[in-house]
Point group: C2
Chain length 492, copies 2
């Protein structure tokens, strides 16, 4: 099978699509820009969601669910937010179809069923949620509100890519309300830390924590914090954002609370989200020309067992050994599949599970079993070894940890090797074109310069890293003074 | 607090709304017919979802995710299904808003951003899914497909009720594809059994398994199986459905497979779903005039501990006892909350957790602790008892099982006492008006009679029970011969 996958060198973008489609993660759909998340891709998303959900709950958040639709009058209440999303939103205008009198068997929008007020399919839920919080918040006793929502959202993007940019996507959006700015900022940073920990510890995807330049902020935010990852083609990917919203939504929706001192004050807000886009990032961080490479901690399958036998008799002889091994692996908490499907040959299965990125493959052969050994193959390094059956579950448990660590170390080494300082415009462009990756360079801090750089070099400011040292320097484009370097990159 | 709840006797419908709103399950929203599911209600839904999801996976199903939107041309492909849902669907016609030139700060639909083809917000996903299955199914080797989706759907209902009937609701929809009719029918019935087991074993809500009359079938189904529950006001509630779809969708979307004998055959289908409506059924099965009564197995909180102390010193003295108890309960797998909030008094807390339906309350008092005892209060029977601290976790574990069993037994006794045979029209109407509940009566099997009964008595055929005995009789309305009784009721 693997021969049908385009190599990264040949066509990186096609390689990515091949992996998503042939690896069984997603499919195109009949709806422009929308995808079907296939069972294997959804199982991956479930594992990611479950870990994140646990992390949100451990930091005191609860889940809730708010309407899919935002009435236009609410949508437009916070002006910056409305302006940011108006250009790409799906709008419901009617609530009924009727038989088309001119075309038998066809339906048409019923002009008599026009909504009095149009409904926007949520591109994000600040508006509908803050309109609700107005009823939930009266006094300081009602604060903080720490709520998260798992939902689908729609942004009518013109250029879509499976997982990376789809018209509809799945995500979580946290929306919190606080009595003070300080508390909201602490929350904003805490959730950025949660995202970074998730990306690095579970996805094995190294990220840089930083803050966005004003031009790259979320529409309606005072500050946008982000985690930025680096893909194998040297392009950056924004993998999660956490916004300090100030009092913008509280003012737009008149959400005030009574302080302990009996004063009315506007409430402070945050919002934060990650989406199915993370799956795109995951694929482009670890995978290779043979297929997906998935980190064990979130892989739908951690181990696949492929038996090699001849005929029904061989299969029957193999079964008890397999059953015993499966039971041991399951008891050790390992997600395992035994593939004794007779419709495909072992060689086909090897290629298939390589394509699907299953971290460990165990090959069971009759002769090996007689000798008390099995063959193990690692997906990440492609190393094979023959090991004793005795204690196999423990060995595999350790191997999964080793693979997880190796994936992170490899991705981090690649990322670190692709952060380059540039001090002249020529250097800046050369790095972007040849070496690719993040370019650490001085910028004069103005939106005009940022826009000019974007125009000239197709690179954007990904973030100002949180741990950035102050350093005197001159702007890469204008030569004006600057106090710190920022990270530029071409990005998804 | 409880005094503010309308009693069932006073106004059943208002009692229901009071419980949902004041119990913290849901809120009205700014969008017509849509609700906000609040954290406590969503935690309940999460528990229900997690159990169902496990049951689906244990029966071989996998989750996937399909687009929110159904292009009109796909929506209309299966005629019966389209006809069934066209009258109540939300339609997206545009993909952009722009500034309204006549009203500063306001937005309007951009007439230049009209979609070439309208998109229906899914009221159910057979159309979009079968259009996808066309690409997934070539040969018998690709079958069966056993897929489930957790999603939001929209049906533009005119009369809405929190949880019971909302324009947007959350649900799961299973969509399976099979090589033979027999296999699809086995699947349809299996999932009905899963629903019944879930309703009875987890929700403690007794249900009758049956099949719908042709008039009450899902639009596009050959047969609709259902579970029917009985609410405390004597009205029935359809709590879940499982449909044998025959080859209707396969034919509409041209989904054929190559048999082992090398023939092209249409694929056989099922679909099955339960929704957040179940929460409405849960509330109306067990709750009382003091508030919600939740079954322990799915209650967000199983135990609340309310300490009684004086001042900060008393609170500090209480803490180590509480910590120890909480640790013991958590170790026993019990969902517990310790409420030592100083803003509210114990009496207020008692009423609050009674309203919220927490199955067991533990009251910690200083004197009791000195004597090595605590007070336990059961939500279901309102019984209180003083029991030793020693072995409390085990005792509570047993008590939770007892409460779960008691709730089911109580609801089943009520339901069984409300299934009444009627052999004349007068009896039929009298039972519906006075005793309420299910009426087991003969029907001549025609749609005309069914419609006439609905018109005259406002009662519908809820189902033909699966275990129905054959019995000669005469139709309650027309006197024509009938071979079995069916269950009628007024219903939600």
């Amino acid at each position: 099978m693997s021969k049908e996958i385009t190599s990264r060198e040949q066509d990186y973008s096609q390689w990515y699509n091949d992996l998503i489609l042939r690896g069984g993660l997603a499919d195109y759909s009949a709806v422009r820009g929308c995808m079907v998340i296939k069972p294997y891709g959804y199982a991956l998303w479930e594992n990611m969601r479950d870990v994140l959900d646990r992390m949100f709950k451990d930091t005191g958040h609860q889940n809730a669910y708010f309407p899919l639709f935002v009435p236009k009058s609410l949508f437009e209440a916070e002006e910056q937010n409305a302006e940011g999303f108006a250009k790409e939103c799906a709008v419901v205008t009617h609530y009924r179809l009727k038989n088309d009198p001119e075309k038998k068997g066809k339906l048409m929008v019923d002009p008599e069923a026009k909504l009095e007020e149009e409904l926007v399919v949520r591109p994000t839920s600040e508006a509908i949620i803050w309109n609700t919080y107005k009823d939930w918040i009266q006094s300081y006793r009602d604060l903080p509100i720490l709520v998260n929502q798992w939902a689908n959202v729609v942004r009518w993007e013109m250029r879509t890519r499976l997982f990376l940019r789809t018209a509809e996507f799945l995500w979580q959006e946290g929306h919190t309300a606080h009595a003070t700015a300080d508390e909201a900022i602490v929350e904003t940073k805490q959730m950025l830390d949660v995202y970074a920990a998730f990306a690095e510890e579970y996805m094995a995807m190294p990220v840089i924590k930083g803050v966005k330049s004003p031009a790259e902020r979320f529409a309606g935010a005072e500050d946008t914090y982000c985690i930025e990852a680096l893909m194998q083609d040297g392009k950056a990917l924004q993998a999660g954002t956490s916004h300090f919203l100030g009092q913008n939504f509280a003012k737009a929706f008149e959400v005030k609370y009574l302080t302990k001192e009996n004063k009315q004050e506007y409430v402070w807000a945050t919002s934060w989200g990650v989406s199915t886009r993370l799956i795109g990032g995951l694929v482009m961080t670890h995978s290779d020309d043979q297929g997906l490479v998935l980190p064990p901690r979130i892989a739908p399958l951690q181990v696949v067992i492929v038996p090699i036998y001849k005929g029904d008799e061989g299969k029957a002889e193999m079964a008890p050994h397999a059953d015993k091994l499966i039971a041991e692996l399951k008891a050790a908490g390992i997600r395992v599949k035994y593939d004794d499907n007779d419709n495909t040959r072992p060689g086909w299965k090897f290629a298939e599970y390589e394509l699907k990125g299953v971290p460990v493959r165990v090959t069971l052969g009759a002769r090996d079993l007689a000798n008390g050994v099995v063959e193990l193959a690692r997906r990440d390094t492609k190393e094979k070894s023959t090991v004793p059956l005795e204690g196999l579950a423990e060995r595999i448990k350790g191997l999964l940890v080793e693979i997880q660590d190796n994936l992170f170390a490899r991705a981090k080494a690649f990322r670190d090797a692709h952060i380059t300082k540039a001090d002249t415009w020529e250097e800046f462009e050369r790095v972007l074109d040849e070496k690719t990756g993040f370019v650490s360079a001085h910028w004069d801090g103005t939106a005009e310069t940022e826009a000019a750089i974007k125009e000239k070099a197709k690179a954007t400011i990904r973030c100002i890293p949180l741990d950035n040292p102050l350093e005197e320097g001159k702007c890469i484009l204008t030569g004006k003074p600057s106090t710190q370097r920022v990270l530029f990159a071409r990005a998804y």
